[in-house]
Homo-oligomer: 396 residues x 2
């Protein structure tokens, strides 16, 4: 049976990688977003880039370093070319991109589809082709295109236009669209088919902040909207739940494990926002966890779904992996103070195709045991935002 599943997986891959036709982001993008308030100057961005390499983040898969809003000069050059704030970026963007590339990293940049960015710097409206060419000439590998200061109705034509112009440069530029996020907030139902045809990834909903409240609200939003999001999600085109805030100040270790596990099972981009100079060991261990990253980067690229709601607000998520394995995350969001014992049948987990399944804990790949399809799986999950993460495999 496994060979049939495998072929199905290959077909699934083939079908989806056609989307934007730029060959980019066949697994969820992984990288680092430099918040310009934290790291106001080029020197600090270069230091973070170095730390992405020396700290083992690049070898784990975090390959993009992306600069956020506030990198621009308030005016374009006389010929209309975008130019950076030369006090913040004295070497200029091409030199910074070269440096990033010399480290083996990819270089991402922020712009806005409107007349101005959210912070009031020049947007691309009226300069789409020129700016696409500028980004390609500068060596940009990833463009996050925000949607401030423009009519939301204009986005359905504007974002695809910019996607086509980026492709026309013949440079592979990952294209991150804020398009549906603005539509969702304006109560306009996004055309996710069109979005997936034009963008490699797209922010769907609220900006994350450094709190469990925010992380959990995003998790709930994705669960509540999973049936309309998941069909458009896969290699080359990804829903985006926003950055990992692990390692900042607001999440406990348990809640950090939860963000890593949920972002992995959702197959959404893993974009770091932590200061790599001061990150604690426990946060680094979570961010660099090989097994969770492998679940996130699984080639099937399926968007995991919330499949069960149990008592005490406990929820079970699952996602199919290559080779008929399945990843699960059990989230216990409520602050009850004591670990909770959970029993769930393999039938309720959707594990009925094989006679037996091997169960493994996901964070350390520790073997849990073999279970028959008509058995019950018992485990303990800590409260207050912790998770129990596991995956199953049919017997070999």
């Amino acid at each position: 049976m496994r060979s049939i599943i495998y072929i199905a997986a290959i077909l699934f891959l083939y079908k989806h990688t056609k989307a934007l036709d730029n060959g980019v982001a066949l697994t969820p993008p992984m990288g680092f977003m430099a918040n310009m308030a934290t790291f106001p100057i080029e020197t600090l961005i270069r230091q973070q880039a170095q730390l992405l390499v020396s700290g083992g983040y690049l070898s784990a898969g975090y390959e993009y370093i992306i600069i956020d809003d506030c990198w621009l000069n308030m005016t374009r050059a006389p010929d209309g070319t975008l130019q950076p704030d030369n006090k913040r970026f004295p070497s200029g963007i091409p030199a910074l991109a070269d440096y990033v590339h010399s480290l083996g990293l990819k270089f991402g940049i922020y712009e806005d589809y409107g007349t101005e960015t959210c912070a009031g710097y020049p947007g691309i409206l009226g300069h789409l082709e020129q700016d696409a060419n500028t980004f390609a000439q500068w060596g940009v590998d990833y463009l996050k295109l925000d949607g401030c200061n423009v009519d939301v109705a204009q986005m359905d034509t504007g974002y695809p236009e910019m996607g086509a112009l980026l492709n026309k440069t013949n440079r592979q530029i990952g294209y991150s669209c804020s398009w549906p996020a603005y539509q969702e907030f304006s109560k306009i139902t996004p055309n996710y088919t069109a979005i997936a045809d034009s963008c490699n990834l797209w922010r769907n909903w609220a900006d994350i902040d450094d709190s469990w409240e925010s992380v959990y609200a995003i998790i709930q939003w994705f669960a509540d909207n999973q049936d309309r999001l998941a069909p458009h999600h896969g290699p080359g085109h990804w829903n985006d739940a926003d950055m990992l805030v692990i390692g900042n100040f607001g999440l406990s270790p348990a809640q950090s494990r939860a963000q890593m596990a949920l972002w992995s099972i959702l197959s959404v981009p893993l974009i770091l926002s932590v200061d790599l100079h001061t990150i604690s060991d426990w946060a680094k261990d979570i961010i660099l966890n090989k097994n969770l990253i492998a679940i996130n980067q699984d080639p099937l690229g399926a968007m995991g779904k919330r499949i069960l709601k149990l008592s005490n607000s406990i929820q079970v998520w699952s996602k199919p992996l290559l080779n008929d394995r399945t990843a699960f995350v059990v989230l216990s969001p409520e602050p009850y103070g004591t670990p909770i014992h959970v029993s769930v049948s393999l039938e309720n987990l959707g594990l009925t195709r094989y006679q037996d399944y091997d169960f493994f804990e996901s964070f350390d790949s520790k073997y849990i045991g073999k279970y028959h399809y008509n058995q019950v799986f018992n485990f303990t999950v800590n409260p207050s935002g912790d998770v129990f993460a596991f995956y199953t495999s049919p017997p070999h």
Copy 2:
């Protein structure tokens, strides 16, 4: 000038230690509350007691081990004596208390002033004198008396009655009253003068849970009500903000530092709720921080107050310490993601009595520098619930 301040401090101590007249709790009680769901049996409580000693908690000041609701048998003995659930406590309470004492710890127990405890076990109503004598005979050093299942109007006479009966046993029993918490929730203004005369400590408000939301709500409640709470607070009689949840699952390291710093500056009891078997090193370091404990246990016993609200919801707390030192905590509750630079004048900090002040960081007592009373103090505080804690001392 220092000698005058010191004499004032001694007078302040003398005035306040008269309260319940039992000589207990001259500094805020410190200990460990065994949640009966986490540690359902006597064996586990004995293990936690051992860990309080071997882990260095007792030598740091955490001297009480207190068992929470659910220790009782559903019925009293034929002679009316309270009896424990003998499956959960096979050795009985006196043997457990002896064991706790043999480790150098003090033994606390939970009961309820009503007909039943909150979990439905026998309350003390109708048995006050018998139960006070039973606790004394058993070797109980601390009684937490909850207020479920009784008319709140009855508390103003009932709690003092039990306090007097406990004192009559001639055993020093710390007396923790839930009395004002039930009144606050019933919108009855508690008579804190009477409460401070009858109780060593009293829960004022909501039960804490394992989340920053809960910790921050309690901090805000104490700030909003500080002017009516602080006058009744001091050696022998303490407002109680509920347990430390540091080391459980819901607080980040930053938020854990915040709880430790705020509980210390409030001079409220430090009662642990973490499983000492599995506590992480960073949480243990915060809980055992010598300087924060010294601020909490400062002999003046003043309740710290919120003295300033700055932009970005940043708030400054201060508390006078012995020898004209002053402890400060700056709390930055909002999840902005980046550290915030703060400037505040010594005048606004209330530091105008001396020409110069030495500033020290509180968590590690690191010397920051000397400031003149007309200078401005600049520092950085992380967001999302972190704190910057410092103290000042006049020059020696």
